[in-house]
Subunit: 396 residues, 2 copies
Amino acid sequence: MFNAKSVALGAEPSAIRQLFAYGLQRKAEIGEDKVFDYSLGNPNVPSPAEVTEKLKQLTTQDPVSVHGYTPATGNPTVREQVAASLERRFGGDVTADDLFMTDGASTSVSMCFRAMVTPGATDEIIVPVPYFPEYRTWGEANGGKIVEVPSRSDNFQLDIDAIDGAINDHTAAVIINSPNNPVGVVYTKNTLEALAEVLRRASEKYCHPIYLISDEPYRELVFGDHEVSWVPDIYDDTVVCYSWSKSLSLPGERIGYVYVPKKASNAHELFTALAGAARALGFVCASATYQQVVGACADVMPDIKPYERNRARLMKILDDCGYEYIEPQGAFYLWMRALEDDAQAFSDKAKEHELLLVPSDSFGVGGWVRLGYCVAEKTIVNSEQAFHDLYNDYNK
Amino acid sequence: MFNAKSVALGAEPSAIRQLFAYGLQRKAEIGEDKVFDYSLGNPNVPSPAEVTEKLKQLTTQDPVSVHGYTPATGNPTVREQVAASLERRFGGDVTADDLFMTDGASTSVSMCFRAMVTPGATDEIIVPVPYFPEYRTWGEANGGKIVEVPSRSDNFQLDIDAIDGAINDHTAAVIINSPNNPVGVVYTKNTLEALAEVLRRASEKYCHPIYLISDEPYRELVFGDHEVSWVPDIYDDTVVCYSWSKSLSLPGERIGYVYVPKKASNAHELFTALAGAARALGFVCASATYQQVVGACADVMPDIKPYERNRARLMKILDDCGYEYIEPQGAFYLWMRALEDDAQAFSDKAKEHELLLVPSDSFGVGGWVRLGYCVAEKTIVNSEQAFHDLYNDYNK
């Protein structure tokens, strides 16, 4: 009687959320400090002071103008502030009209999918694996076909030849996420240039632009010498999906944007399609308050030191134990090889030591687990023995 | 190349937004006090002090817990606060598990449509006319067929026989909106009971429940002796869509809920389908901040005196001129008969007097205009001459 897909989606347990819920219950049972919950990507670093300052300031202003509707595309002043900040940081010609303020990356990506694919037309979206599982949900919900392409098994950079091989006349877009959730890898400039070359050739061959959707909520969370390239500089037909969830630690407030560079093919029509997609998805406008907050904080950079400390501490523990993992270059995830082929079984075994590690199956690949280290430092410190014990279970 | 429906939706000018944009431009040209803008439903009454107090209080709390993700269904404490408030006000058995916190009525209604209809299955949603135009957008975007049923031409109450006649085996739901946008009518208890009787009989005849979606963002804005019935008391298979946009003057913050009463048929499966629909629409959670605000303000009632004053003042002017209109019973809209059959032409004529009135065509019917009187009192006072002049254009 109801929409069967909606029922199935609603009933389908997200492995991440399920593990998180288990953790909450377990903490209630044995104490918060006894459970080592690496399940979620909820930043533990407080929002910068500028966020709270702006919120305070807004409470002193006229509520009618603070809380009123904004245009669907966003508060014009905020769009100008964000555009100016992007220009300062990345150059190019960015103006307010190129930006559509959204409810965060989820809405940004959903809008792109809905704008770019037509149900029944077998339009395809290429997704490098492993990947954020909701890409499939949003792609399929909007009538697209998700085409998985495994990344390189040695370093989890994009497998350019494999992507090239997966492109065909139905390919509408490729979506990438760098710094990457779940692996923590940052795609090198060389990798992105090679991808751009492939996409340019394929766009020419198939006589339509293949868009590159660059989903970048972790853009500012990058460690050491690694650099996050500004993708529109590398490939003209890029659409940037951004969220302040991670950079300003505002995941529950749902605020982000889609940026369509002027030089992208059919930029105006694409922007129009995004506006229509937003309407179809029931989107009215992003929170008026949080639009003003991110406008005021457009140049504020996150404090990544706590993540750097956590990362170093976690790597040290894993090294001491003998685990194999991909050294995180950005975001706040560590991708660790499970000690048996069945990642779910390994995750279950980890639970026995109160370690909550997300099995990689949810991200489209077996044999690994994701550790979200956006947690309190003491969680990592206290989990050391558990990691040793888990390792010893497999290496007696 | 793009989704043609998305492009069309994005390019389609909303008559309301178009008129509002014209008003902004016109105000810049001739001065704000010279333009009498009745186009929008953006409340001019400030949010209650409790809203600002709660916002201030949140700025003194730990940002990590204030701004973190909530479950998709909402902050558990907030859901309890809202459930308790509904129980206090309307009785019945309402618990947190019956409520799904959303980004306002737009998301609430979109979720219901997506949960209840299956693309390709010719599922129908009955919509009394005139109606909020986005019902069609959201219904069709989620694969439903919108079936328009004219309301009674004398008083714009529901035409129960016409609804009865429009129901068939494909009917999934009927959506009502009382107090009504655009007419300002409040459906009487008798009307709703007659509707319930028809729906019960039809549900039995067609062997599946026909849901009544009660979209109630104006529930608390009601004047004089008129009463807004609590629809779940009248019909078991009701789903309530609510938004605090109007009652707490928070339209730009996007906060509301869907309430599925326990006694509704297949309540649990429907709630699951709503959760799946939300995921498919790219919804993650409603703003964590504004969830906490509405939780704290669940019992706060709006100050409707400014709307009452505006309503009285506007009616006096229209009476003096000689216009025909439906006396507003709730919401903040007045439904006035155009002085010629072509509502768009009448709206254009009104523009010559700097009066911005939305032609009724956008609401599915010709011959009327909608006046949103959620404006500054002086706008109404200053518009008196313009209404006289417009009337005289047609009655020389």
